[in-house]
């Protein structure tokens, strides 16, 4: 019954979405205030209805209602409650409903918190957002209904894919969706501005918090996916340039460019056309990503199994949205006058370079991801584009960007002098080069990756430190005054320092682990000792047992260094009987400077030996710590008072009282 109510609620949401897509837009065009005012309550209504539908689906999963088809296909009475909840979005139909939930959530948030927005802009923005929501709710209702019943209902379900029965993977999709579906809000603001024909500093101020929120969520989502792959897939890989990973990475890059571009619009009233274009592109890439994952068009370890009819529907949504918005852009953007003047060497110039490099990097990823498809379409040739290509084609642009970042951050607005900026940064450059030199000299083999990577990361982090010094007036002011200023720095500044510094940490981790990882694979039996880079790994025993929905074989290892016990590690091999799927659970001894990573392989036919893979991964956790720092930096920026547009409204109301 609840399932049917959920289905009905979703249908109502569809009707409200259609209403909201048309009425406020017409109202804004005609100046009918009542029609414009309809947008906010409609948005809230849409969210409540979709929320109810989603809750009904979650309820079906948690109560193991196997008369619902997707519950029977993706859940089982034996699996823990958490994975019954996450099973809701561990399949195509459920994840589409989650997507729509987030679309309506962002609409509702703008309706509720966007009190300072001018009525016309708010109405148009919510209308555009609702058009997207209506398209996707329609997609769900007509091709991917999560509420379909299965008659007769089976006694038990198929079980959730064991790989998905994991806390990291349970929360990875919601964050990811909050991210790249949240970018729809920036898109809606951009299209609304195009329809209005006006982009000004206030618009940029309103767009930024929503884009920043989406970007922070996307950062967390991507980092979670990467970390999950690291500890779950059994070989410590954390990025594969898989099409689905690229689908989330491209919007991240473009959203990063958008955030920085919006700063220029807000502060200098320039770069308007480019910012609008970036907002459109960011969400368009999200849509392309959704298409790639669900249409079955590209092979990937991630993709949902799907039929072509759904692919065609999404392609239609994609086509109308992208072609429509770009046509509107081509028509209206030339009419936007940018006023701020600036020299090429200035912060504006630096941000333009930043935009360009991020956009080109996204273009490289885009071309690489779609190339197999395009080649096959044109001349039938089947090619592969994998990690080796992306590493080679993508990295140079990031290198240029990192070199430019500390310089660009210190340049003043409007007109800057590179000489003066370099004068403040010379010691950071010198230290970074020195670090690179030391690493180059000390390591065996002549690989460039470690010295260059670490030097770049050091340059970036030291550049942030120089900038903090600048902001608190350090070389000139006394230490006391400077420290005082430190406590009074606006939160947006802290956000910037954390985010840029976080990127530096991440690059350091990537360089270190890629260049210096040690591995050891061998046959071993209980009693053997495996030496690994200063550690000794003692293979003690193997035990067997049973978990909630699996059976396991568990290895017991003691790791010592200089005779002292450092860790006890217990890697497992599991078998999930319902789907007859084996998985490996690596044992990881996590450390700030290194991870020890141990995997138990297959037992050999002689009955005694096991394959044991041992890895020492230096600085690997800095990758995710860096990503976390970036996300926290973004979150701190969000709490900056300057973004709470409502504050402006409150001051205006107070002023008449003061004037009396």
């Amino acid at each position: 019954m609840i399932v049917e109510l959920g289905h009905f609620a979703l249908t109502l949401a569809f009707a409200v979405a259609l209403f909201q897509a048309v009425v406020p837009l017409v109202g804004a065009g005609r100046g009918w205030v009542d029609w414009m005012r309809a947008a906010a309550p409609a948005a809230l209504m849409q969210f409540l209805l979709t929320g109810f539908a989603f809750a009904a689906l979650v309820n079906a999963f948690v109560s193991s209602d196997f008369s619902v088809r997707i519950v029977a296909e993706n859940s089982n009475s034996q699996i823990p409650v958490l994975y019954r909840v996450s099973g809701t979005w561990g399949n195509h139909e459920g994840s589409m409903l989650l997507l729509v939930l987030i679309l309506t959530l962002f609409g509702a948030m703008v309706a509720a918190f966007g009190r300072g927005l001018p009525l016309g802009l708010k109405a148009r923005t919510l209308s555009v957002q609702s058009m997207i929501a209506a398209a996707f709710i329609g997609f769900i209702l007509f091709t991917s209904n999560p509420f379909d019943r299965l008659v007769p209902a089976p006694l038990d379900g198929n079980d959730l894919n064991p790989l998905l029965q994991d806390i990291g993977l349970a929360i990875h999709p919601p964050f990811l969706y909050l991210g790249y579906v949240g970018l729809s809000m920036a898109f809606s603001f951009a299209v609304a501005a195009l329809i209005e024909g006006k982009v000004d500093a206030a618009w940029a101020r309103w767009v930024r918090p929503w884009t920043l929120l989406a970007w922070v969520m996307l950062t967390v989502g991507i980092a979670l996916g990467s970390y999950w792959a690291y500890y779950e897939l059994g070989w410590g890989g954390w990025w594969f340039w898989d099409p689905v990973e690229n689908a989330s990475f491209m919007p991240w890059l473009v959203a990063g460019a958008l955030l920085h571009s919006a700063i220029v619009v807000e502060k200098r009233n320039a770069l308007k056309a480019w910012t609008i274009l970036l907002a459109i592109l960011a969400f368009s890439l999200s849509l392309v990503g959704i298409f790639i994952v669900r249409s079955g068009v590209l092979t990937s370890v991630h993709a949902f199994a799907n039929d072509p009819a759904r692919g065609v529907f999404i392609l239609a949504i994609l086509g109308v949205t992208i072609v429509g918005s770009l046509t509107l852009y081509a028509w209206r953007a030339p009419g936007m006058r940018s006023e701020g003047l600036f020299q090429p060497v200035s912060r504006e110039g630096g941000l333009i370079l930043n935009n360009l490099l991020l956009a080109v990097a996204a273009a490289v990823v885009f071309t690489g991801t779609l190339a197999p498809l395009v080649r096959e379409f044109f001349d039938g040739a089947k090619i592969s584009v994998g990690a080796p290509f992306f590493d080679l084609a993508f990295t140079p642009f990031m290198v240029i960007l990192i070199v430019a970042m500390p310089l660009g951050s210190l340049l003043p607005w409007k007109r800057g002098d590179l000489g003066r900026v370099m004068a403040r940064l010379w010691w950071a450059a010198a230290l970074a080069l020195a670090l690179g030199g030391v690493v180059w000299g000390v390591q065996t083999g002549g690989a460039l990756l470690a010295p260059v990577g670490l030097a770049l990361a050091a340059w970036l982090i030291l550049g942030v430190i120089v900038e903090i010094g600048e902001r608190i007036g350090l070389p000139r002011a006394s230490l006391g005054t400077a420290l005082g200023r430190l406590t009074r720095l606006p939160r947006a500044d802290w956000g910037k320092f954390l985010a840029h510094g976080g990127l530096g940490l991440m690059v350091m981790g990537i360089a270190a682990v890629t260049a210096w990882e040690i591995e050891d694979i061998r046959l071993a039996r209980p009693g053997d000792v495996i030496p690994l880079g200063g550690y000794e790994i003692h293979f003690d025993s193997v035990s067997e047992g049973q978990g909630p929905n699996y059976v396991y074989q568990r290895g017991h290892f003691t790791v010592t260094r200089d005779g002292e016990v450092v860790a006890v590690m217990e890697p497992e091999k599991r078998l999930y009987p319902v789907q007859n799927q084996p998985t490996t659970e690596a044992a990881i001894d996590m450390g700030l400077t290194r991870d020890l990573y141990l995997v138990l392989g297959d037992k050999q036919t002689n009955g005694e030996d096991w394959v044991v893979r041992a890895y020492l991964k230096p600085l690997v956790n800095w990758i995710w710590l860096g990503a976390l720092a970036m996300a926290i930096g973004g979150a701190i920026s969000l709490t900056d008072r300057r973004y709470r547009v409502g504050a402006a409204v409150r001051r205006r109301r107070a002023a008449p009282v003061a004037a009396e």
Binding site: L356, A359, A363, T367, V385, I518, G534, T593
Partner: protein, 155 residues
Amino acid sequence: MRMIVFLLALLIAVPVAAPVHAVQPDEMLADPVLEARARAISKQVRCLVCRNESIDDSNAKLARDLRLLVRERLVAGDSDAEVFDYLVERYGEFVLLKPKFSAANALLWLAGPIALLLGLIAIVAYHRTRRPRAAANEAPLSTEEKRRLEDILNG
């Protein structure tokens, strides 16, 4: 401090090795140089029955067969390029994870540099068109205003 020393000691004491994923001990060659080459090559060879994995990463049987084949060719004295050619001859370009630098793939490889170039040209052009407009918008300073500016700057 100890951390740095430890890290440095790590670098000196242990040969730099590429990460190994699905390779089994019984596949590994005795000669470490050949084995290192085999792994480097494996990371660029696609597992044909998997979804976007290299034979170095995959646990599939075909991946194992290909890993053994690569090592076989290396032991027989093939150079890296010859091993790749051998595989392409048998399985097509699909087996290469890094696409060939051929005319058909030119657009793929050049997409980045071309995009960068076009972007730079667009920026320069945009900047050039704004200069005259900017100059037209700015009224020149009158002599009185110029004298006041001098005073402010110098006093």
